[in-house]
Subunit: 479 residues, 2 copies
Amino acid sequence: MANEKNQFVKEIADMTTDFPQWYTDVVLKTQLVDYGPVKGTMVIRPYGYAIWENIQKALDERFKATGHQNAYFPMFIPYSYLLREAEHVEGFAPEVALVTHVGKTELEEPMVVRPTSETIICEMYSRWVQSYRDLPVLINQWANVVRWEKTTRPFLRTSEFLWQEGHTLHATEEEAVEETLKMLEVYREFMQNVLAIEVITGRKSESEKFAGASATYTMEAMMLDGKSLQAGTSHFLGKNFSKCFKINYLDKDGSLKNPYGTSWGVSTRLIGALIMAHGDQRGLKLPPRVAPVQVVIIPVAAHKEGVKEKALEIEQILKKAGIRVKVDLSEQSPGWKFNEWEMKGVPIRLEIGPRDIENGVAVLVRRDNFEKTTVKFDTIAEEVNKTLDLIHENMYEMSKNFTHSHIVTAQNMDELTAGIEGKNFVKTMWCGCPECEAKIKELTAATSRAMPFDQTPIGDKCVCCGKKATKVIYFARAY
Amino acid sequence: MANEKNQFVKEIADMTTDFPQWYTDVVLKTQLVDYGPVKGTMVIRPYGYAIWENIQKALDERFKATGHQNAYFPMFIPYSYLLREAEHVEGFAPEVALVTHVGKTELEEPMVVRPTSETIICEMYSRWVQSYRDLPVLINQWANVVRWEKTTRPFLRTSEFLWQEGHTLHATEEEAVEETLKMLEVYREFMQNVLAIEVITGRKSESEKFAGASATYTMEAMMLDGKSLQAGTSHFLGKNFSKCFKINYLDKDGSLKNPYGTSWGVSTRLIGALIMAHGDQRGLKLPPRVAPVQVVIIPVAAHKEGVKEKALEIEQILKKAGIRVKVDLSEQSPGWKFNEWEMKGVPIRLEIGPRDIENGVAVLVRRDNFEKTTVKFDTIAEEVNKTLDLIHENMYEMSKNFTHSHIVTAQNMDELTAGIEGKNFVKTMWCGCPECEAKIKELTAATSRAMPFDQTPIGDKCVCCGKKATKVIYFARAY
């Protein structure tokens, strides 16, 4: 059994020496994903898609609880729409897929496959919004989008991906800013309470903001290889799109006004985030609240009388308690199954053998820390539910500790370089000019990640040019 | 108030004289849908999308209960894949959207935006399926698809639509046929118990079957204008795709075999079906189990003390009982609100005024038959839930009676023509040759809809050519 385990683990590359290969091995071998036939596309396999369904459910509840409704807008956008917002077209035109023909007929105007939907949604909003009574507009869409990227990785960056995009309109700037920050907080709370991932939140620099936004807010998560992952963004759009798309409403005072917009989104990239924030050398370690299988029951000596039956009985008890559970009755050995389900990241393993049945207990093994205990059949559903919460809390604590132990401060370029080389978020002061940002990127391969909401200065000079600086900012290498 | 109602109803075209305009008026004025900027596309607005979410939830539960898992496959398919199955390419090539460029770069091979996913899914299955242990494969996908149609109508036929497509593989023909029929029955049961629509099920003729299938099974629903709507199909694919895409598995006996395939789908077209199966001159009449708002509470004399408060209190009571409820506190008059929510098809209206509060009751008005009763506040959740079930049952009964009163039989072309002109399903005998089918279409504008499972003959001569006939078949004009 020990031998089998070692053989198995050997199939996954060493995460300390080759993290990218470890990631690829994990996503393919656990059957989360496969490569699609067209370069840069991915197939989300059932085990991966079930995680996405749980993510969707948790987020969708939160969107609805904050007053949003879902809708669906066409994925084909007239090319001319993209041209209306100058920054937007510059940001997206090089990477859009263009439909030029239907069958053998050439279209008069090519259509863009949406890379994001601000343009088409604002066009529709301009038809729907007439009066102050029509505001606010609070709409979200679950959809596929396409952005043609040169370097792709499953979940992290693919030509087509799944996401949600919220698009709202408000009468006042204050209300729109409040919405932008509210949705960022919805995301942050979701990361903590559902994915068990600590994030750093803040505002993006001008050069890192969304093409067309007035301000972009972000949440950044530290991956186990010391690189930051932008896990979600929320944009205050000002009147940029409402002016370009002529969204006008008659206000109470009788004058025509453009409303203020926001947009915000997270994507299947979150699956990449949870893999790289929690995984270990044995493979996936799934946060219990999105794990497709929360508990796997493995009968030991399953041929012995009553073992299989007991396993199936416990399965039903857990199912009734709302726990996602699976009994592995395949022909493989228990040792093989232990490895398989550890690799697949199932939070709890229950082992049930003849002696356990005699004692009225199952052996419970936690995936997060490999702790082994016994639980009585009588109270098994409560014990399992309690343990799932403990695993969640422990995983979040680990993510939090890891993240905060990977934040260092820098007063000069030497410290910044050392911090980046040490695989950290480097907190530093910045003068605000894009030249310094570009220079830091050139020298360290790190990019500015976020200006945190707490702007208590840690110095007064720009880490790069040495001039007066008032902005606190995080730099890191990033996905 | 009566005057207001009449004004309101006038906005919707007369369904008896101009059904197509009635449909357009209803879908636009109730804000289910709007036209997208690209011809033939639709925007599904929040009220329409909420119906789709309820449809998805009810179907998804049924798919999972029958052992299926969801996955997601890329929407871009290499053009060459389409060419591998001869019938398939003939059926779909003229109406596919082609991506030829990314930014300014021309692609080496154009990509098809999926019109359906058999080809790309079978390509992936050929990589995943190696052994008989890998069978059956039971996967479903919720996705958008694109079919460029000349004549489009919101929900009924649009260039892009939302749907689900199940794609399964099986070791034996028997098992694959069983799956095909099982999923047709899942659809039929859903139509009855969720959408309250009666359907006729059966097998499609060769000329009406899915391009690439060995056999297509269908459910056909009779719309209120006497035209049939194909509401969903389930295909037995034989080995057609598994051969073209080289899906081979090693069987127990050591030989390589191609598995048998099925595919089955329903789409946002179902929203069109429920509008045209249930609606009336006042607008929508939504089946309670998918209605986004099941109960609307309208305070009468809302300015009087305690009225608004009571309405909000009842809202909370109903919400806690799992009922989708809304209180209309807008500035409009109660009469205006009655009309508005009738048009929007909300199954139950509760009126609460000062006198009702004194008596401890609300006035309950059913949308299906306009019956007015009073319900006690004390038992209001139970009463409402019971009434929602009664409304469902009544709507299904009405659909069933309507459908069966629109089935006539024909022994000759005169009877068939009269039956079609009378807006019926015409049940008749057919020799099985496509020439007769084509001639009937030419003469009556009716197409063959389904050969029912009950093939008890009603004659022995083909209704068209008079030759020996053994097939019982339904003809109708159709969407």
